[in-house]
Symmetry: D2
Subunit: 471 residues, 4 copies
């Protein structure tokens, strides 16, 4: 084996040296973008309301010579920042929206900054900032080395259910892109052929007949009954769908006053499955549960389409590029204080932690399916896309938790963010250097598509639901 | 008031003396029919399986000179026993079926003769026997006094859900009848314009897809899920129907083995309301719950019509006849042993008892609605019919209880049975004496019908469900 | 009979003339208080937020010489207005709070002034104003005739669930009162021995464990599951409580976001029964359903006491006083326009209307149980109280409907309000004239109490839930 | 690779020749035992009622010189058949019970011999016969070659829920056994380190208060309500347990008559998980659902322990032995008629079939978890045990299906049975030849146990539930 490694090393030596330069650029801007991630973390903004967060990133990229276009596809906080011209067009993506109710201090115990307020439990303050940091570094490297092509940063709002990328896709904003390199905060440094669950969701609105609940309950037709009969039926459905399926919901409106038979009730439900086609079949059965709820309660049901994200189509070529990049980028070490913080966070986790530490980098070709969903999945069906995670969270910490929010505001989060930026930078530079890999990525893309193409329940002419996160 | 009573007394004196004679006839046969009621009680037979009970009554009536026809309208245990000829045709009805699971000794504590076996919790051993006792006494009185007309005893099987009378109605067996005098065991002696709930029922059969419940639950479609979703929905319905409505059910088949997704499940459900038309509307909503169960579970639902009994249409004229008869018939006293038995039974009752004692007779024109249902209701829509209760049960004891079964086998039951026989006998004799009252009863009948006519969901050409009680 | 009526007429002639005077006083102020009712209707304020409505009534009573005390028992909008001194102390009560979501124009079709805004669907704009109108008239009559005693108007906030009167009772504000004359808007003019349902309610809060609903649903314990299991169980309970019982609820919090296992959920539930003791037993079973929800879902349940109103204890003596008064007060006629409005409103009602017209006055001793609940019930257990309804709504219109809100703002509502004021005025003057009736009322009160006394689940030292209507 | 194979071949040549002899013995008896499997298939007997099936196998083994002991551990159909003496003690296991409702002809379409009757859907007619066939062949080989040790056949009744092996374990009947070689009918020939799900189950009995469902539903406490509230809660549980968990149930008693509030209801529920300890935690939550059902419905719940099977502890050493044996044993070919039958069966299967054909043999060290459960799992915690499957079913056919029953009676089933017998025979002979492998197996066993030991909820002093399959 030693011989082969040696040969490889020699063959890639030139590239490696070049890559080292881009890492230097990353290093030069790391503190600045760490600071930006901190500002976004301190002012968590919900989907489509990321006015300050988006503005901050735009301003930084504009200041670094990018051509920024904003207010795109009907979304005030969507933007692109472009550098260079011609082929290939390599894209990075940046998210920056927060989650409701996850306000949290940088403390190893649950302690909101403002109870009930939003927080960066998914680390998107790091996501957008790391991609921007990488973009600046890549641009400097392209300039330094005269690399040809176009680098574009997509500021994609409302990943947490608003589906900003889908509206950007519908608007044709990804039309000329050759490859997308993406990442997400996680609890380890890892590149593989991972996917994410396809999801679909929306609001089931039940309309009944109000009546005084004491005087004439027999005259009323309860919309809440409709919702509850539906949901009871959905619970019975669970046994009879593939076990990887997820169905989860809230009752977003459960009636106005207990002494009135509810004339209106609303269920907000999301279903997921690794395979969008399987999900379609399950979705029809959920719709039947909703219809049954209306039928049995004598009410009327109306469905309002919500989030519909595709599963992620992995790209074998780009995944190899990122795997090489991350192996080069490497992990990082905790300081003693960070170690203590991590240990204390671990105490709060439910089960034993099996994730490797932040100093480890794992790259393989396993086809895991993450349990989340993302509109990055939709991009992956239109443009060759690869995605990785970097260790912004303490091992064992999941997304959408107070622990995630705490890490995302800590130095640990910022160190993970630099790993991400280094990986993205190394990967993108490799693609600019070797356009043939871009072509290969396209072949791999077609192979995975296998004749299928992107489809979504979000109508091409529909408006982004700008108030989805606050209504 | 004394004057009016005196006049009445004089005017009715002849009749009263005659009636006294019929009471003497009742007295003469009371022990014999008490013994018959005891034999039926000791051998409780479920609906359509009342072979011995029916045979016993037939034999007794035949022995007393009645012309007995049996195996009627497709029902081996149905029979008529006729005496006399020409108009008017006055009918008595006798039921003799037992209830499942109500086996009970004549003891003031729950103590089955045979655990799980049937028992006479509704007192039908007394019902059929008292009517037969009355029939024999009336016949003797008719013979003694040369009263014209036809007396007919209807041996009506399977009142407890099998609807024997409906098939007899469909077969035209009540076509020539002018008036029906009926009674039912109860906890007091009472004549009023009472009705009973209309009911409707049947079996909701769900057909799903079997699958190994551990290996491939997602391949299965659970019929039991269909049943449970239906029933959950029915529970939600309760709030939104008139409060006098009753909906009750069992799961008569809830799957074969826990490790197989059930391909079959069955719900046996009955609904009731004082008004058959209101019940129709509610029934349609119950059907929608069943359809919803099938829709939501991906199964198929099939409805098999069961019991459908009309509410009782009271007859003002006949009710007056019976009120007079019962006032004359009078109540009875407990012996000290009976009193002790009654007191001990009362200890086992849930709430305070408000029923008057067996020595009281209450007659009024209140239009109460009893909470039971009976195929006597269907008869009442076709022939002028009046019905009363006699105190065969200790005050406070309801039908379909172990206490009812205990009383029905006791001397208390037999004393109440004699009150019933005396009332029926006096009433029938009055009708034979005064055919004008029969004509009046017909006018009162038309007034209550108000242009409506009998309808039933039991198809005219359907076969009696001879195995309904055992399958 | 004619003789007896004549004697009665002569005997009461003096009083009648005097009463005519109080009716003249009512007439003199009727327009003014009609205008006040209109102003309150135009600015509907929810319970404990009736700042302007309360101020308006206070100002009017103060201007008419009443001694006004406000901000009572911890409730800024509670007040009393007193005239005179010494015994007897006769009280009137005025409510003035609106209902959420019942904004409605004075139109015979559903048409909110402001969609979703509060409205006077229960006619409390008339309630408080009519009692104030009566108070002013009684005071003038007391002054004119030198009648002894104390007249007190209670401005009682938040009848719609906030229980203002209960806090006034706890504060001892009714301690010296001898009799309360009360009324409520309705669809006819009627005095009887009616009661209202006892009720009890509150918030069932479930606390679970949040988890990402896709990534780790098995780590979560859903508070919404707790709520739904509880409510499903409550639905099963319905069959097994007395049929007059009412149980109704909303899900006031059904989770925050569908992708998070809900850590919090809340049910707001009210139960009612004509008998507070029976209700206690039912309530314990509802609590068991809630405990079962927590147990089965692995969550924690916490109950927060809400409304708890007693049933109304009728007072036979005071009811007779009011019956006489209303027979004297009489009803009223519709103008052609009002008739048309009434006819159009009737078109919108679900079933056939059986209520008599506004020109009719019905007084009897029937002991009906209205299907609503009121904190006037609590007053009736502490002070002899009688209550009647006046025809402020078109026949067939129920409380808590848009039709009720429309009528309450119309001239029909104001005419009904005058009937109410006339009845209250006549009744109160009779009590001041004949203190022996007050003593009789006390005897009747003790008889109804039968050794029982007022109890409430609202702790004596608890603070009024000033924000109950808006949180 | 060829060189290595050659060396291997030479090294194992002696053994191979010896093994060929045992295969000859298998061949000599194959028709006879095929015929026995056919007789058992034609007379399918439910668990603990396998009188004829057990007798047939006993008689055959006795006739072949085995020492047969029957009526063991309280189970009339349990037996052992022993040959030889001393160490090592190598055991085979034979099951022979049928499944309810799976009567099926040897036809490629659903077509019961007797509708509703039992059938060999799990192929146990082959299971017991193949092990017996192997036993006879091994015995002859031991005699022929003078191999030392004890061979024992365990006739283990009622694997389908009755847990015969557990009572045999409790009775100490496996105490001296060194290794168990086991197999199960399947749709391919495969040896790996597979496990089966741990399971636990039993009957949840609810006791309520009967009442007439129309007359006094408020006096009743419905046992069926208890069951349904429990089961609704269980459905909500599904989302919050690890996705590999299985929970399935029937309502084995859902009330006696719809007009009586059910005083008794019963749920028969089984839960499974790959890990018995995880299952314990889930089970406690299911118990809480049952307790909640009782609490919320005012009924009493009683749990009766049913099946409790451990997951299978694989044995690495014995699995290697079996892998070698099966590679040697080889698969088989379909005749044209069998191929056609297989193709037609495949048409009836729900999804695409991925199992290899009967000519393939797959041996690896994958640690799969089959979705069934078996009391062979319990044996595997007490004695080193390895288990494999042989292709008795057409590829894609699962256990507990009519297709399985059809195959089990066909020549395909009997060919698969011979593969099993060859594999068992080769494996056992290897263990008798090389006692050191038995010692190794013990070390591997301890390693897998990792300090844990067998535990079961079936009390050591409990009687086998001999009527479990028929009650």
């Amino acid at each position: 084996m030693r011989l082969r490694i040696l040969l490889l090393t020699l063959a890639t030596a030139g590239a490696i040296f070049a890559q080292d330069d881009v890492l230097a650029h990353v290093a030069a801007h790391a503190d600045r973008f760490g600071e930006i991630s901190r500002q976004i973390w301190e002012n968590p903004e919900l989907g489509y309301h990321e006015t300050k967060s988006s503005a901050l990133l735009q301003q930084e990229l504009r200041a670094n010579g990018f051509d920024v276009k904003n207010d795109l596809a009907g979304m005030p906080t969507a933007f692109t920042a472009t550098f260079g011209s011609g082929k290939p067009v390599i894209a990075l993506m940046g998210e920056f929206d927060a989650l409701p109710g996850l306000s949290q201090k940088v403390e190893p115990k649950i302690d909101p900054v403002t109870p009930g307020a939003p927080g960066h439990g998914c680390g998107h303050n790091l996501l957008g900032s790391a991609s921007a940091l990488a973009a600046v570094a890549i641009k400097e490297e392209m300039q330094a080395r005269g690399l040809k092509g176009t680098l574009r940063y997509y500021g994609t709002p409302a990943e947490e259910g608003g589906g900003g990328k889908i509206y950007m896709l519908h608007a044709g904003l990804f039309k000329d892109v050759d490859a997308v390199l993406a990442w997400h905060p996680g609890d380890s440094n890892r590149v593989n052929l991972g996917s994410l669950l396809a999801n679909n969701g929306g609001r089931f609105r039940f309309y009944g007949v109000a009546a005084h609940a004491a005087a004439a309950p027999d005259k009323g037709r309860s919309a809440l009954d409709g919702a509850m009969i539906m949901l009871n039926a959905v619970e019975f459905l669970r046994e009879h769908v593939p076990q990887e399926t997820r169905i989860h919901y809230i009752i977003s409106n459960g009636g106005a006053a207990p002494n009135v038979v509810p004339a209106f009730a609303e269920v907000n439900l999301v279903a997921r499955n690794p395979d969008a086609e399987v999900l379609d079949g399950i979705w029809e059965r959920i719709m039947n549960c909703a219809r049954a709820g209306a039928l049995a309660s004598g009410t009327r049901m109306e469905f309002v389409q919500g989030t519909n994200y595709s599963n992620v189509l992995p790209n074998d070529t780009l995944s190899d590029v990122l795997a090489r990049a991350m192996q080069k980028a490497g992990g990082y070490q905790y300081t003693p204080q960070e170690k203590q913080f991590a240990d204390e966070i671990e105490q709060t986790l439910p089960g034993p932690v099996r994730s490797p530490g932040p100093d480890k980098v794992t790259t393989d070709k396993s086809e895991t399916v993450g349990s989340a969903s993302s509109d990055a999945g939709d991009v992956s069906w239109v443009v060759p896309t690869a995605q990785f995670i970097a260790a912004t969270f303490v091992p064992g910490v999941g997304a959408h938790t107070w622990q995630g929010a705490a890490c995302a505001g800590s130095s640990i989060g910022r160190k993970g963010m630099v790993v991400a930026a280094r990986t993205l930078a190394l990967g993108a530079v490799e693609l600019f250097e070797k356009p043939e890999e871009v072509a290969e990525a396209h072949v791999a893309f077609q192979k995975r598509l296998a004749g299928r193409h992107w489809s979504t329940r979000i109508a091409a002419d529909s408006k982004p639901p700008l108030d989805y996160a606050v209504k």
